[in-house]
Symmetry: C2
Subunit: 345 residues, 2 copies
């Protein structure tokens, strides 16, 4: 290693460009916490400076900024750059795919990280997990969705693969930045929107302008966020620094999901008890067909694209085992816990 | 901070006593990984030396060893020291309580850590989360459990609060160290045992000597492990060192659960397909009554013990919200994902 005096002199600022508005609940706060974890753990030797969306580069250009070395790090979501490769979708959210816990299992211990490294390296990036929303909500709707027929002609704000799935079922889907969603829904320009979950949705006030709040969020069952480093910068860090960065990212991955789960539980209570929001579960008939089209959509992404196919094959195998394990662990436990018995005094 | 040359001279060994055999899958491996995360992140400035169960002190004496300063850190489970206070149970596992994700939410963002700090401080310890098994299995049984009547007289190895719950339902429960379980089940000295989940259970070979593998593990729906520091040692670390230790612990908390989920999925497949293990779900009638008695048991712990009551009240409130949120997020998603549709090509 470096001699001690050299370390003291080598204080270095790392620019972290993010896809989030400043202090945005969940993701923006998580980015700030990550910066603090790194800066404090290195005693300022690596000092992370956070740039909100648009401050240094626009939100969807953070990947390019890190790839080219304009910034050392990004904090975003891999499904924001499907134009680089559709394979990136698998490292953020897949309709009817893995939950947060299952995704962590695949990435950390199921070969996911190695496939991700191989893909990112083509763009001069080293990326890792840094947070998760957990299961999102299906969204806010101005009318009920009882049958597949009700999806036809529905104008809904839903980006990414989820949007593609609903488009195949006759909906007219579009992507809108956060700030434009509320007025669009209020004016009737759109009939529905998905956002995140109770915590973020309550803050946005969607309950004031939409009647029905649907679940579950089949399109994003556990959306992962990631921190990506410029590969040259990554390789230039000392082994101790790389360990600090990996520990900080994994700690934040744990911490952000926990925050969503804690705040969603409390916000759901407020939405239902105070704002009298009408919760609706998508019917099994609707979910079955959406499930089929979700599978079809990602299979088509894999067909004829070697990069996607490699990731897809690993993902599909892992999902099969994960599904069986979920059924006899969490799913079975939730069912038992929900039975009618007295638990509290 | 210290001047640079002083840092270089100040290499310090931290003794970490654990409750696990050397390289024990899951927990033992997690303890080694935690040591590596800390040692590497500090570039050896804090060098963690891992002691397997019994090497320095017996497994259930690790808390006392850290409290007194014989060792700087322990890696164990808080429900191993109910004799100090029954309140510690809430920071590891509660029958019909929180899952891993819910527990993280309570500890990190729901007031749990503050209550834990208050409790641990009474014993000169500062503790934090460092891993989780996820939902455990209900256990291995030599005969079927169809009704509550079948629990009467059942001789089962099940420690802790889960054991107390089954005892109230007429079972004869006991605690046995890992190494004594297999021969006891083989000889018929016991009729049943719980252990962890498919990954650990497969390694132990229980499928060779018990017919039925029951789920879900109501008694340990998300067992947390913890790292505890001697409070004086903790307060003597620099802010940067404390940040490194917290990041390493939270990173490992994320990583260990992911490993259980990844390996359990694969091991379950082996148990069912290769070893023809008969999976059985506890009936709703049995689960309902066990749920009621679980609630009764922990309420009694809280009655007349101020330390327990404080933790219990926070836990019960958090559980109510968590249960509602689970129902419209993960639970609803699992149900939809399980519908009959074609997902793969």
């Amino acid at each position: 290693g470096l001699a001690a005096p050299a370390i003291a002199q080598n204080k270095r600022e790392l620019k972290m460009v993010t896809a989030w508005p400043k202090n945005f609940p969940g993701m923006g706060v998580g980015a700030e916490r990550l910066a603090k974890r790194i800066t404090e753990a290195t005693d300022g030797q690596l000092s992370v400076r956070v740039f909100a969306a648009g401050e240094l580069v626009p939100p969807f250009e953070i990947f390019d900024a890190v790839s080219s070395g304009t910034a050392e790090m990004y904090h975003g979501a891999e499904y924001y750059w499907p134009g680089k490769s559709p394979a990136f979708n698998f490292f953020s959210a897949v309709p009817f795919g893995l939950t947060a816990a299952e995704n962590n299992a695949w990435i950390y211990h199921g070969g996911g990280q190695e496939l991700w490294d191989e893909l990112s390296a083509k763009f001069n990036v080293k990326a890792m997990l840094v947070g998760n929303t957990g299961v999102q909500m299906g969204g806010w709707f101005n009318r009920e969705i009882n049958t597949l027929e009700d999806l036809k002609g529905l104008k809904m704000r839903i980006p990414g693969l989820g949007g593609e799935v609903l488009r195949r079922l006759g909906a007219s889907t579009l992507s809108l930045p956060g700030g434009e969603i509320y007025p669009a829904l209020q004016s009737g320009a759109i009939d529905a929107t998905e956002w995140v979950g109770p915590w973020n949705d309550l803050a946005f006030g969607f309950h004031k302008i939409a009647k029905f709040y649907y679940y579950p969020g089949f399109h994003e069952p556990g959306t992962s966020f990631s921190v990506g480093f410029n590969k040259g910068a990554w390789e230039g860090f000392t082994p101790a620094q790389r360990q600090i960065l990996q520990n900080a990212a994994a700690a934040e991955n744990d911490y952000m999901l926990a925050e969503f789960n804690a705040r969603n539980g409390a916000a759901l209570k407020t939405l239902v008890n105070e704002h009298k929001v009408q919760l609706r579960k998508f019917s099994d008939d609707v979910m079955k067909e959406i499930g089929r089209v979700s599978g079809e959509t990602i299979a088509e992404l894999a067909a004829g694209n070697e990069d996607v196919k490699k990731v897809y094959d690993s993902f599909i195998d892992f999902r099969a085992n994960a599904k069986e394990w979920a059924n006899i662990s969490e799913n079975a436990y939730f069912d038992s816990r929900n039975l009618d018995y007295k638990y509290t005094k």
